[in-house]
Amino acid sequence: MVESVIERITRGHFWDFHGGIHPPEQKMLTASKPIKQLALPKQLIIPLQQHIGREGDLLVKIGDKVLKGQALTLSTNPMVVPIHAPTSGTISAIKMSVIAHPSGLSQLCVFLDVDGEDTWRKKTVCADIEQLSNSEIIEKIADAGIAGMGGAGFPTHIKVNSKTDINFLIINGAECEPYITADDLLMMEQSNAIVDGIKILDKLLTPNFILIAIEDNKPKAIKALQQATAAIEKIKVCVVPTKYPAGGEKQLIQILTGQEVPSGRLPIHTGIVMQNIATCFAINDAVRHDIPLIRRVVTVTGQALNKPQNVWALLGTPINFLLKQCDVQAIENEQQPVIMGGPMMGFSVSSELVPIVKTSNCILVPSKTEMPSAFEKESKEVECIRCGQCSDVCPSQLLPQELQWSAKAKDYPQLEKLNLSDCIDCGACAYVCPSQIPLVHYYRIAKAEIRQQQQLDLKAEKAKTRFEARNLRLEKEKTARQEKHKKAAAARKAAMNIATPEATGAKSAVAAALARVKAKKAAQSQSQSQASTAEAQKNLAQSNELATEATNPVDEQKTEVAAAIARAKAKRILKQEAANKPISSNEGVKQTVTAQLEVSQPPSNDDKKAIIAAAIAKAKAKKLSKAADAVKSVNLAESTAAEKAVNLTDKKAKIAAAIAKAKSKALAKKANQETPITTAEDIHLEKIKAVRVESKDESDSKANAAADKKIRISAAIAKAKAKKKLKEARNLAGTVKNNDQDSG
């Protein structure tokens, strides 16, 4: 199979992909002029994210002076690609700015005021790459911030770090989009550097064959690369017929190997890796010369420019600078489309401040005569007549018109059935549509909505499980509570049976309980101890009255007896409370005052326990939060060095929290207050992990250690306290029970 593929290629026979179009190429505008070196712009706008993946962590702050090639962000994750200062200067701002995205939305960008000196940071040039191990090379590629420069911007170091056997390494120099000649010129001028880059890739991936695919409309580039690779057996320069979109990854693979990449999979699964020409050049720069990805060739073209040509643009150069360099003809009262990328798949930009990023290969400023459809204010869309020209040109063999009907009807299941996800947005269908339907636009909207729907479904699924978990928990708590109530009721019943039979009516017992409650409430406040005694006496009188009312008025003697008993009980309670008072006030001092004071539930056995548990938890939570604050400050101050330490404290905090949780659980036995307790712990965990960043003091690593210690201490304290509390609570429960029995 492999042999026959190579045989065919050496004979110059290729496969064909379905469909495809031949739009006017217009490459002659720029193909004959060399790549121009530009003067430095005044300011560069460097978006933090220029690739697929996530933003890196900022390493610089406003006012910092940076040198050319210095890293501005740090990669902490394989999907994060760092960015570098394209030249030396001062960071003047770090703020949201319009980025190179069709939406015209803003993202965080570093504004670099250029000092004009262009001073390099220290470079370590590598003389012999043979001395480097593969992992060292990959690290260099990752550190240089290289992401696929053909359009998608997939991090290159992931793509070249493949474990599977690679059959073909395909170097994509097809550049099928009209107008664009950036790769063409690069191949003409830098063919040796590109081949050196390919050699590095060869070392990393060890493919069986390396195919360089170039469309047959670039004779000079073909010649240059053929000369540069003449000595290397493994590399084959493949001259493929010109047809849009031959440069699409899947299409090029089909042309060269006749294989199709299965839907939903990557080429690497079929043993194929594809790299862009410009990426190869950048890899060579990064590995051999320690030059990170800070510049690229950009084709600035279109008939609205007087001097269209390819330029070496620093990343972050705003397009208005480029347009001025190429002498744009401003048309009065005319809305001029400025397209980043080619005419088929590029997007129009909304602001002159949009910067060049790693994936921008072309700035196209067409004149009205050459591209009238780009100027149309209103869509000239008419109804589809099912002529089928779109399906004839679709490189994915989809049915664009049926997709269009379904997209308009928002019939997403049908769209998925028609394999909308296999659409590569090449725009061939919309290009040929006689009804001028913006087909690709419909698909994009539908794709975005399908994606969002999937996310919503995922979210709904999560919400469902969370809701069910919550319900389960509430249910458990409820049954637990009921169980306890049952037990308590049984205990009361038993107590009543033991107590003197007809001494107290039920009502007097209630009255007594009421009195008890009030007395207790009064007694709890330390500062009002005097008043509370008085109040308790008042309560005594009240309970007396109540008791009087309660008992049968016919038998006065009995009433009196009952009242006396009630009074006696109340007195005893009062004494008891007085005895309890110091303990509780002590508690109040030890714990946070707020925690105790707000508790005002009737002190039944269970509730009391719960209150205590809540108090403990709260106190602990506070301590934890203090610790957390410390951690936060540390985190800010020493972001790199302290990271491991933070992780440590994080762990400790977690352990402490877990202990506290376990204890409070044991204590509270899922009483009412459990919900806030657990969530209280959650909040602090959450905070420790990562929340808002606002800190005033910059403590050093000692503070970190201190925080660590603090947490441990607080955990220990909490443990001790919990033990004490437990004891007390048991005692208290015992006395209360005794009281009950007595009163009964």
Partner: protein, 193 residues
């Protein structure tokens, strides 16, 4: 053999139950909004109609005629059809729960599909033999299925059409059915029965 073939072609195309004789319009309009449903309904109807014409032939020939009870024809046919439909419903429910749900009320409503009773009564009137009855029933249901499936595919296409509001839904479906009927007139005289 040729006769049977002609009878089949005649019932499927020339005297199509739906588009020429206008029988069974209720499920024709009701379950034609999706092709999947229409195919399911077609199989159910083919099964019911073939079995019903067979059973009704047996009931007439061996029960009602010997006992001189021809006036009970309609009643006993209804009984036969109801049983066959009920049976079909159970089978469908067992074999394909999703189809069962898709067909919904129209599955038991095959009972009231006038094409089913029609085929039984027409068999009687045209004095078909046993095999002719079966072929007639099969052909009628085949014709029904053919146009039902075609119609459903058209309606799926129509779902995206920009139909004026007053004609949306059933109205435009009826117009489409009328145009289909017009097209089927082309088969007139194809088979002389």
């Amino acid at each position: 053999m040729t006769d049977y073939l002609l009878l089949l072609v005649g019932t499927v195309l020339v005297n199509n139950f739906v588009l020429v004789q206008f029988l069974g319009l209720c499920p024709f309009m009701g379950v034609s909004s999706r092709t999947e449903t229409a195919i399911g309904m077609s199989f159910a109807t083919i099964f019911v109609m073939t079995l019903a014409s067979l059973l009704s032939y047996l009931v007439t020939t061996y029960l009602l005629v010997p006992l001189d009870l021809e006036y009970l024809t309609t009643m006993s046919f209804i009984l036969v059809i109801a049983v066959v439909v009920q049976f079909t419903e159970m089978v469908v429910h067992k074999t394909s729960a999703s189809l069962y749900r898709l067909l919904g009320i129209f599955l038991p409503l095959i009972t009231t599909n006038c094409a089913v009773l029609g085929v039984a009564l027409l068999n009687l009137r045209q004095q078909h033999s046993f095999f002719e009855s079966i072929i007639y029933g099969f052909g009628a249901s085949l014709g029904f299925s053919l146009v039902l499936i075609m119609f459903s595919a058209m309606r799926e296409k129509l779902a995206n059409a920009d139909v004026p509001a007053p004609f949306k839904g059933t109205a435009i479906a009826m117009i489409t059915a009328g145009l289909m009927s017009l097209a089927f007139l082309g088969f007139t005289g194809l088979v002389k029965i």
